[in-house]
């Protein structure tokens, strides 16, 4: 089976709300694909459609080239974590994994393996109702790994994790992808995916806004922008504007210039004797790039913005 997820032209309405509006993307093996977008952008709905839980009005979604509902032993094809809180509180973590394992014809041995893998061994025989959110996320990941699938889909796995947990899960996801698995991880916070995702599918209002590698996204967002630090802000602004640059004030002594290369800026300022302390090509953070992309797609903007 191919380790891919294909989402093609999904449309879905919930009453008047258009949840999915032509969602199309492909998740390839060997890397973590971040699935980012503001709340309500359609990330969870897309995942539920891929997993056959929700039906799309139009379009189709395939896992390894086949609809999820047609998979035999589905957990050995796709592992999913949708909602870490979806547990029977009275049941122990190990028993939760045990019934799942039994449903796939797997035994208790495999259960103990995945418990070990996510580091829950000491707490495995405790009731899941007493688990912290972080432990539930680990349990959810253990459930996703149960069938040792080539495709993983995790919805907001960083939620509720402490910093140590976030570091752990990042490393864990990278190592799963490095084994050749396709890993799709959704998040509404781009910062969580920094240093984890190699590829990004950015969504807003039910459709894909950008489908790109992380490196390309940052380069695009950074293009042609230079940060200038100077004590003589008014002079610098007039000189650069006269030369055709677009100048934005970001601080008392900092300007962001676009439309002019950094060498040109240095020459212009030197020739007019405008003092400056620093000229640097601007490197956008992933967060900025993301905000640029999703500015139009955010459903509910704060009034002040």
């Amino acid at each position: 089976m191919e380790a891919t997820i294909e989402v093609n032209g999904l449309r879905k309405r919930f009453g008047q709300t258009r949840a999915l509006d032509g969602m199309t993307f492909t998740v390839l093996p060997g890397q973590v694909t971040g699935f980012v977008g503001p709340n309500g952008a359609g990330k969870s709905t897309t995942m539920r459609v891929v997993l056959g839980l929700d039906a799309a009005d139009e379009g189709h979604a395939l896992v390894g080239g086949r609809p999820y509902a047609s998979l035999r032993s589905p957990l050995s094809h796709v592992g999913a974590l949708l909602d870490a809180a979806a547990l029977q509180p009275g049941r122990t973590a190990r028993n939760h994994l045990l019934w799942l394992a039994h449903s796939q014809g797997l035994g208790a041995g495999r259960v103990d393996e995945v418990i070990e893998q996510v580091g829950l061994t000491p707490a495995a025989r405790r009731r899941a109702g007493g688990y912290s959110l972080g432990m539930r996320q680990r349990l959810g990941i253990a459930a996703a790994l149960l069938g040792d699938p080539p495709v993983l889909m995790l919805d907001e796995p960083f939620n509720g994790l402490d910093p140590e947990g976030i570091v752990w899960i990042r490393g864990f996801l990278r190592s799963l992808a490095a084994e050749g698995r396709a890993v799709l991880v959704s998040s509404h916070l781009m910062s969580e995916l920094q240093d984890t995702a190699g590829h990004l599918v950015v969504v807003g209002r039910g459709r894909v806004v950008a489908d790109t590698s992380v490196a390309d996204l940052i380069a695009t967002a950074s293009r042609d922008r230079v940060t200038l630090r100077t004590q003589a802000r008014p002079e610098a602004m007039s000189v650069l504007a006269a030369a055709g640059g677009t100048v934005t004030v970001t601080d008392r002594d900092t300007l962001v210039v676009s439309g002019l290369a950094s060498e040109h800026i240095v020459r212009l300022l030197a020739s007019r004797a405008v003092p400056f302390s620093e000229v640097a090509a601007h490197r956008a953070s992933l967060e900025e790039a993301y905000l640029d992309l999703t500015r139009d797609a955010v459903e509910f903007k704060g009034a002040a913005r």
Binding site: L28, S73, L75, L82, P150
Partner: protein, 517 residues
């Protein structure tokens, strides 16, 4: 992008079949303490309430001023409890033979409620199943095999044998000629309006050998059912006797000049030894005027086996709660998504759940009923109660049927839980569908016919599987749900419940397949 080798799992693929789903659902059920506690509680409720009922029930009978243990009712050739009380005028018959008689009329008297206190209010009348005619009976022992052809109060001519068997002849009453002919093991009953043209009514089989042949009369009590103000009914059975005038008596196969013996079979004696409501014979020439009291029919005497299963209703409510929450808990927690990820074929997932809950409930119910029925009956018998005889197969049906009733109700409740996705709504719906109609029908609140329809049309019909008493047309009794009699036969009633459960499950599966979760 560099080429990536897609991941290949080293894990040996497990099997993906219905058996795996069953195992998974069983693991789910047994790993939630509340559910197992609920099922255990069901068993305990049934056993403990049954034992409580049995230890609390005492009975004794009075013989005049003396308290005595109640005598067990006689049993017929089939082992069933029978009423066998009548006046018999008979001779010995060693081999083949026959008896013919003309019944000229049936008259009788009924005792009605006293108008003036202390003054007996007796009116003329014949009860519907008052009977008189000819009989061949193996012996005068109560419960001994017999065959008889008779004229009845209002059920025409009948041929009856061995209590449970009853064949209708032509309608109408006396005068009527009746004849029984014994050839080997076969006894043929015939009737005639004029004594020359005979019509066969029926046949019976009886072992060869020495038997008694003669004339008889019996009249069951006058049964009245009065509706009371709140909608129920009160049943009363008052003394009735019948007198039959018979002549043209001819007996073949008996010793020539043989004399008639009289027996008031089954008569109860007062403390001073005199018979209570005796029958009698007044003979003038060829005319026999026989007066009889009592009945020859299956009896309702003794406590039926299902009475000790009083805890089933309470257990049923617990089963409903467990079965509903077995599915609604998944909706409440969102766990249903995990279930459907593991088993994307949703109908199969739901059926696996239904199979697991019903088998588990069946086992717990079977343990409960298999303990309660024998223990309860032993305790009841120890307390002097008379028990209705229980045939082994009937006992098995009552016990396994109780377990099956609980199991099918569990499926019904599970299906409602899946349809409504909310515990409270589903539990209330299941109780309204099953427990409420059962209580309304059996609590003597409704007119009998309304109660019968409730137990035909609602899932509560399934309780019929518990009825151990078999009813016959020739019995004089009020066959109302309030008295423990269901309008449908046991398996038919159970089939009604099964149909409801199947329908609910099909709807639930349809809805589960169609909807987002």
């Amino acid at each position: 992008m560099t080429a990536v080798t897609p991941y290949r799992s080293g894990l040996r693929a497990g099997r993906d079949g219905f058996a795996q789903l069953l195992r998974a659902e069983w693991t789910k059920l047994r790993t939630v303490r509340g559910w197992m506690a609920g099922l255990t509680l069901t068993t305990l409720l049934i056993v403990l309430l049954g034992v409580l009922f049995a230890t609390g029930s005492r009975s004794s009978c009075m013989n005049g001023p003396i308290e005595v243990p109640c005598p067990a009712p006689p049993t017929g050739p089939g082992g069933e409890a029978v009423e066998d009380r009548f006046y018999f005028v008979h001779q010995q018959l060693d081999d083949d033979g026959s008896i013919t008689v003309r019944v000229n009329n049936l008259t009788g008297q009924l005792r009605k409620p006293d108008v003036t206190p202390g003054v007996r209010n007796v009116v003329p009348g014949v009860t519907p199943w008052a009977k008189a005619g000819v009989m061949i009976k193996q012996s005068v022992r109560q419960g001994a095999a017999y065959a008889a052809v008779m004229v009845t109060g209002s059920h025409g001519v009948r041929m009856q044998h061995d209590f449970t068997e009853d064949v209708a002849g032509r309608p109408g009453g006396a005068p009527r000629w009746l004849r029984l002919t014994r050839t080997g093991e076969t006894i043929v009953g015939e009737e005639s309006a004029d004594g020359s043209r005979w019509t066969r009514v029926g046949t019976a089989r009886m072992a060869t050998g020495r038997v008694r042949v003669g004339l008889f009369a019996a009249s069951p009590g006058d049964l009245t059912v009065t509706s009371n103000v709140i909608g129920g009914a009160a049943t009363a059975s008052r003394f009735a006797e019948v007198t039959a005038d018979m002549d043209q008596v001819s007996v073949r196969g008996v010793a020539p000049g043989g004399s008639w013996t009289r027996d008031d079979i089954g008569v109860t004696l007062e403390a001073d030894g005199t018979p209570h409501h005796p029958g009698g014979l007044v003979r003038s020439g060829d005319t026999f005027r026989i007066t009889g009291v009592g009945d020859i029919a299956p009896a309702l005497e003794g406590m039926p086996a299902e009475r000790v299963l009083t805890g089933v209703l309470a257990g049923l409510v617990v089963v409903i709660v467990v079965a509903v929450s077995f599915v609604t808990a998944e909706y409440r927690r969102g766990l249903i998504r995990t279930t459907l990820l593991a088993a994307p074929r949703r109908g199969r997932a739901l059926v696996a759940k239904a199979v697991v809950i019903s088998v588990a409930v069946f086992v717990f119910g079977l343990v409960a009923a298999a303990v309660t029925v024998p223990v309860g009956r032993a305790l009841l018998a120890g307390n002097g109660n008379v028990l209705a005889p229980l045939a082994p197969l009937t006992g098995l049906r009552v016990i396994a049927g109780t377990a099956a009733l609980l199991a099918v109700v569990a499926v019904f409740a599970l299906a409602l839980g899946s349809l409504f996705r909310r515990s409270a709504v589903a539990v209330i719906a299941a109780i309204v569908a099953i427990v409420v109609p059962y209580l309304l029908a059996t609590a003597s609140l409704l007119p009998d016919e309304v109660a019968r329809w409730l137990l035909r049309l609602t899932p509560a019909a399934g309780f019929a599987i518990q009825q151990s008493t078999v009813t016959y047309e020739q019995m004089t009794a009020r066959f109302a749900p309030a008295e423990g009699f269901f309008p449908l036969p046991p398996w038919a009633g159970f089939a009604v419940l099964c149909a409801y459960a199947a329908l609910a499950l099909a709807l639930a599966a349809h809805r589960l397949r169609r909807r987002d979760v």
